[in-house]
């Protein structure tokens, strides 16, 4: 099965998967970097995005509306979650933050199951992206190509927000030194709420964009959450560029390993993570600082 055409195809698959992982992971990593909270409900955000988008789609028949409604909804969920619950956990130990987000993850998943049942739902891709494209070396679903583009644009948008706006500067400064931001006289809580919303939205957005590829189901976020952990560890916790690099690396590892033996793709992912930890304990692009 190992030939050049196949290898190139798999590299391409890895790129698509990697871009998705990068987007979800960047949401996780900026929340963590700014607020110091590892959101174990991040997988559930991915899932909620998918459901919100699907629901919007069934009422509007418009993919664009689905994407907008879905993202905004998940952002609101993130903001509300930060305001009502997470905020009270900043002063508590990291472990409590993990536990409460872990519990919230379960509540979200089972809540969706309660309202929408366990059968998976499909959001069809927009009409202009249906069908298959010949890439020369392989045939590829047009929507997946489009999704790659959409995810890339989303990452770029996130980059612009983080690196070209005032809020972004504050967020990045917060990642480097939360105390300093505190002393700038900025209402950190507002920023935290916003960051949590944006981070959740990144996952939710990925959930909708991915819905036409992988039909949605209540527990779809679980597996992806673990993968994003690996991505974040590889890339460096709190590092946005790290999340992107880590995502692409993880995507390629999974794809290329499965060319030889699919059973080992996750094992290889873990091996890669171990290697990174041994050689660069703070991740490829991470810096010593927050633990």
């Amino acid at each position: 099965m190992v030939n050049w055409a196949n290898f190139i195809s798999q590299c391409f698959n890895g790129l698509v998967l990697g871009a998705l992982l990068a987007l979800i992971s960047s949401g996780l990593t900026i929340i963590y970097g700014t607020l110091g909270v590892l959101n174990l409900a991040h997988g559930a955000m991915f899932m909620l995005g998918g459901y919100a988008g699907w629901l919007a789609y069934t009422y509007s028949d418009s993919f664009i509306i689905a994407v907008i409604v879905g993202s905004v909804f998940v952002m609101l969920v993130g903001v509300v979650m930060e305001r009502l619950i997470i905020r009270h956990f900043y002063s508590r130990p990291h472990e409590d933050q993990l536990l409460v987000t872990f519990g919230l993850g379960i509540v979200f998943v089972e809540g969706v199951r309660f309202f929408f049942g366990s059968l998976s739902k499909m959001t069809p891709p927009p009409a202009m992206f249906q069908g298959i494209t010949n890439l020369g070396f392989m045939f590829y679903p047009t929507y997946r190509l489009a999704a790659l583009g959409i995810v890339a644009i989303a990452l770029l948008a996130l980059y612009i927000v983080l690196y070209r706006t005032r809020i972004g500067m504050i967020v990045r400064a917060g990642i480097e030194d939360a105390v300093m931001v505190d002393s700038l006289g900025i209402d950190v809580y507002k920023i935290f709420m916003l960051v949590f919303g944006i981070g959740a939205m990144a996952a939710g957005f990925a959930g909708i964009v991915n819905a036409p590829v992988v039909s949605i189901a209540p527990d779809m976020g679980e597996a992806i959450l673990v993968q994003t952990f690996v991505v974040v560890v590889i890339g460096g916790v709190g590092s946005f560029p790290g999340a992107i690099l880590g995502g692409l690396i993880a995507g390629e590892i999974i794809s290329i390993t499965s060319m030889f033996n699919p059973g080992y793709s996750y094992v290889m992912l873990f091996v890669a993570m171990t290697l990174v930890l041994v050689l660069r304990p703070y991740g490829l692009l991470g810096s010593a600082g927050r633990e």
Binding site: M1, S9, N13, E110, G117, V213, A223, S265
Partner: protein, 452 residues
């Protein structure tokens, strides 16, 4: 520590000592049971929950069924089948009477009650639930599984606890093969019979020497079904397996595997994945343009697959299944079942519910014919191998491995435009009689255990 029984090499069999011990222990454990006298004849010492479980005016059955987790949809459907069967037993419904003529608003003069709890499709949770039911309610029969992992675990557990177990959905050859037990029975079709039934249909429709790509989930069930199907097609029609894409359980993105298949030159995709894996792999095969270019074959149909992926994908797909509701046109019992089910639950049953209902009906028959809840009596009644009805014709249980010899239904997906209603996904091509599909009873290494 005085309650520990010491093993002893004389006189009494160890088993007997243990049973006495179990009685003593449970009497100590469950206050309130102290009044139970063991009024049993010498030839029927207490076993499992017998006679304690059948001394009241209600007997309990326990179902550990996935309501959360990956197989929740199939589990919820199964549960409805059992509930309906229990209702029918208690009300003496005419459909149930076709299976078990001797029931009379209950079973042996007792009401039947179904207990159920979530197993999350995990063997460990399933066992925990069953153990709780045994302790709390003295259930006399257990059921529940949407995967062979749970079925095999429950089989062994049934053997240990000496309580009957009727498998829910379980497709592995092992359930009534190498992991068969005296106390376990399976009504539904499985890898071997699915392969033997769908193979000739494929050969008839597509001829010899074709190229097939397999998609196999990486666990025992997947490997056994793939092997059964591949063996049949290779031996009987010279089909070639050009690639076998093995994916881990819970894979979300199948693009890597589909890419490999796209490059393999296959004409057919035989998709052995189950549950959500099957839904996702099939949808994505379509996205990659492999379907309808390649023909899709699903040797072990998944309840709700068509509903989830949509008719535009299942159109033209060949699948083997236990039951499809349109068989109501041909079989009166099916018609009664589908009507009763639809009336109660608002949709037409899939084969998970059908298997649930029929296996309970068979059990009710065996109990009522044997005139006893004593497990060895019921087992021996099953093992008589009498011809009994199912929803799709006569069947019987093989005494050697406790597998029901039953027809396998071959269906083909309808195009959207041909569907008469929104659940009319499949067209029944053939109902293949079970007799010719079965392997030799010992072919998969079945050795049943003791009765007591």
């Amino acid at each position: 520590m005085a309650k520990f029984k010491s093993g002893n090499k004389s006189g009494l069999s160890r088993r007997h000592v243990l049973q006495l011990g179990a009685g003593v222990a449970s009497a100590a454990f469950i206050p309130g049971l102290g009044t139970i006298g063991w009024a049993y004849a010498d030839d029927k010492p207490p076993i499992g929950t017998w006679p304690a479980g059948s001394e009241g005016d209600t007997v309990y059955l326990g179902a550990a069924v996935p309501l959360t987790g990956t197989y929740a949809a199939q589990g919820a459907d199964e549960l409805k089948g059992w509930e309906l069967a229990v209702d029918h037993i208690n009300e003496g419904h005419e459909l149930m009477k076709k299976f078990a003529p001797k029931i009379d608003k209950g079973l042996l003069g007792k009401k039947v009650k179904l207990l159920s709890a979530d197993s999350a499709a995990k063997p460990n949770t399933a066992l925990r639930v069953a153990q709780t039911f045994i302790n709390d309610n003295k259930i006399i029969m257990m059921t529940g599984s949407t995967s062979s992992a749970v079925a095999v675990a429950m089989n062994k557990f049934a053997e240990r606890e000496k309580i009957l177990y009727l498998a829910g959905i379980s497709g592995s050859n092992d359930t009534t093969g190498k992991d068969c037990v005296r106390y376990g029975f399976r009504q539904n079709f499985f890898g071997q019979t699915a392969a033997a039934a769908i193979g000739p249909v494929l050969v008839k429709n597509f001829g010899k020497n074709r190229k097939a790509a397999f998609m196999t989930p990486d666990y025992t069930y997947g490997h056994t079904v793939t092997k059964s199907v591949n063996d049949y097609l290779k031996e009987h029609a010279g089909w070639e397996m050009v690639t076998n894409q093995v994916s881990p359980l819970g894979t979300q993105d199948f693009s890597q595997y589909l890419t490999n298949i796209a490059n393999s030159g296959a004409e057919f995709i035989v998709n052995v994945n189950w549950g959500r894996d099957a839904v996702l792999s099939t949808q994505q095969a379509k996205q990659f343009g492999l379907l309808p270019q390649m023909k899709l074959v699903i040797p072990y149909q998944i309840p709700f697959l068509a509903k989830e992926v949509g008719a535009d994908i299942t159109e033209g797909v060949f699948a083997a299944t236990d039951f499809w509701w349109t068989l109501e046109d041909k079989y009166p019992l099916s018609k009664m079942f589908v009507e009763a089910f639809q009336e109660k639950y608002g949709y037409r049953p899939e084969w998970g519910a059908e298997n649930s209902y029929v296996s309970f009906a068979h059990w009710a028959r065996m109990v009522s014919e044997a005139g006893s809840f004593y497990p060895p009596d019921v087992i021996k009644q099953f093992e008589k191998g009498e011809t009994i009805p199912s929803l799709i014709g006569d069947v019987h249980y093989r005494p050697e491995d406790h597998q029901c010899v039953r027809p396998v239904v071959i269906v083909r997906g309808k195009a959207q435009k041909d569907m008469k209603n929104d659940e009319d996904f499949w067209e029944v091509l053939e109902v293949v009689p079970g007799e010719g599909l079965m392997q030799a009873p010992d072919a998969f290494g079945c050795k049943l255990g003791d009765y007591t």
